[in-house]
């Protein structure tokens, strides 16, 4: 993908300096200092968090859809001001909420979405949509949720910009299409684009994003890498037993045996391993013959909820 004629600005493509927003008495985003992307090359940064964690509010603030109560932001070298039109000219934004003009044909909708973009954007978006196999002469009312999502993505990927802000671009898509979209974003990043994407799918952001930003309750929880998350996930082992087994007793016995229990609930117990390899611990567990054997052992692949609970001690993801 070519980029706009203007020279790339110095500094990170996205800089948030104390951006803050409250809705009534609720603080949707506490003062957030964050830089996203690298000035010298493209990259994909994942923004993760449960519903209501402030991801979408942050993204909307960045493109001027919501005005900040305090703080400043720069996107591709442009200071966010007024209604953010100057920023939106230098970025593409795909909303997470998927509502479209159902009476329009998909081809018309693409043209409508790309108003104000470079002259070749519509042709590139059309090409992308056709690659997805979308019937562009059909009215959008006949589109499924996934097809609408792909149409929005085709419009978001087409313009020549250096920054793309995508709110859950793969939500509701089947794995193969999710993979296609991530491939496309990876190529885009290799061509020098900075992509900030939010997602609930940890494996996919782990695959594509070199940096992961975790948010919760409008605050930055962690700013880390996929490798670091994987490394930490590998030291967490989750054990589950049959319904008849008293998990609280199991938890107590594990603690007595000197095992660090990170969390426990009706479904099982999570323990912290000393090393990424779970075999020594499992061997130790097997040697305790008087214990009921666990019927579920999960290692190294945490869901978003588990990740939040196990690594950051946050419930309700």
């Amino acid at each position: 993908m070519d980029h706009p004629a203007h020279a790339p600005p110095a500094g990170a493509p996205i800089q948030s300096d104390g951006l803050t927003r409250r809705f009534g008495s609720t603080v949707a985003l506490h003062p957030l200092d964050l830089t996203v992307g690298l000035p010298e090359r493209g990259s994909i940064v994942g923004l993760l968090g449960p519903n209501g964690s402030g991801k979408s509010t942050f993204m909307r603030l960045l493109v001027g859809l919501v005005r900040p109560d305090a703080g400043k932001a720069r996107v591709d070298g442009v200071q966010l001001s007024g209604d953010g039109t100057a920023v939106r000219r230098r970025t593409t934004y795909a909303p997470g909420e998927l509502h479209m003009y159902s009476e329009m044909r998909a081809s018309e909708h693409l043209a409508w979405l790309l108003r104000g973009r470079d002259p070749g954007a519509l042709a590139r978006a059309t090409e992308a949509a056709l690659e997805f196999g979308l019937p562009l002469d059909q009215r959008v009312r006949g589109y499924s949720h996934g097809m609408k999502r792909q149409l929005i993505f085709a419009a978001a990927i087409a313009p020549k910009v250096r920054v793309r802000i995508l709110d859950e671009p793969t939500e509701g898509l089947d794995p193969s299409i999710r993979s296609t979209i991530l491939d496309r974003l990876e190529r885009d990043a290799q061509d020098g684009t900075t992509v900030l994407l939010s997602s609930h799918h940890l494996p996919e952001v782990g695959r594509s994003c070199e940096r992961l930003v975790f948010m919760n309750e409008g605050k930055l929880l962690a700013d880390t890498t996929a490798e670091e998350v994987a490394r930490r996930s590998a030291r967490v082992l989750r054990l589950g037993w049959d319904a008849g087994v008293d998990v609280s007793k199991m938890e107590a016995r594990l603690r007595e045996a000197g095992v660090e229990v990170r969390s426990a609930d009706d479904n099982g117990v999570s323990v912290q391993l000393d090393a990424p390899d779970p075999r020594p611990f499992l061997g130790q567990l097997a040697s305790m013959s008087e214990w009921p054997a666990p019927n579920r052992i999960e290692h190294g692949s945490l869901s978003m909820a588990e990740l939040y609970r196990e690594l950051y001690g946050v419930e309700g993801c």
Partner: protein, 254 residues
């Protein structure tokens, strides 16, 4: 832009066809009306406001009849409904269908988005009034009557400004609200209430429809000039409502 334009074309075409049908039927019926004015007056006598209206038509001749039929009756009733329907979805409609974020996410300023929508809506309300008024001289020639085109255009401007004020008020409400149906019902209720007041002789002077009644239009045609105090007031209302809508829209959160 294309979507807005298409929408305006269809809306104003529909509004114009209805207005034209009504004025054509009224003019064709004029000889019969003129012949039976005495009977109509006696039928209207139990309702003082109606009786006064018929008296105005009798005294004003064809000019009063045409302005009464076209501007007072058709434009005020259908036009008010059209103005409300055209304006109510401007922003609240986007909120209601969930497309506000998509509409705002493009690299187009909010001032431009709202101004385009406002002006297209204004055009959809006003153009049919002017276009159908332009056909009146030809329609009148079929019943051997005449009216000055310049008088008709002045009346069209006056009537349009009143409809634009209703449009602008609804537009402002739409820029602040989320429920288009409720907004439409509220504005239409206010309009009907104002018209009801107009029909009650003792309180008629409280009605906004006094600004656009037969006497007002007859005065415009007889003096060959606009009533600038009313026109100025209506322009001010439009500008204030548009400015307030813009202010509200700038702060709107999708």
């Amino acid at each position: 832009m294309g979507r807005e334009f298409k929408s305006v074309v269809w809306r104003s075409l529909g509004f114009a066809v209805i207005l034209e049908t009504m004025i054509a039927a009224a003019i064709i019926w004029w000889p019969s009306f003129a012949e039976n004015i005495g009977t109509i007056k006696s039928l209207a006598s139990p309702i003082p406001m109606l009786r006064d209206m018929v008296s105005s038509l009798e005294a004003g001749g064809i000019a009063a009849y045409v302005t009464g039929q076209h501007y007072f009756k058709a434009c005020n009733t259908l036009g008010a409904a059209a103005a409300v329907l055209f304006a109510v979805g401007a922003v609240a409609g986007e909120v209601h269908r969930g497309t506000l974020e998509l509409w705002l996410a493009r690299p187009v300023s909010r001032v431009r988005l709202l101004t385009e929508r406002y002006l297209f809506g204004i055009a959809a309300v006003a153009l049919p009034v002017f276009a159908t008024s332009a056909s009146i001289p030809w329609l009148l020639s079929t019943v051997d009557e005449t009216m000055q085109m310049s008088d008709l255009m002045r009346c069209s401007l006056h009537a349009s400004l009143f409809l634009m004020a209703i449009y602008s008020l609804t537009f402002l409400w739409s820029a602040m609200g989320t429920q288009p149906t409720r907004i439409a019902m509220a504005v239409l209720f206010l309009a009907i209430f104002q018209f009801a007041i107009y029909m009650v002789k003792t309180i008629t002077h409280y009605s906004l429809f006094r600004l656009v009644d037969i006497e007002t239009f007859v005065e415009i045609t007889s003096k060959n000039q606009l009533n600038w105090s009313i026109v100025g007031g209506l322009i001010a209302v439009n500008l204030v409502c548009y400015g307030a809508a813009l202010f509200a829209f700038q702060r709107r959160v999708p």
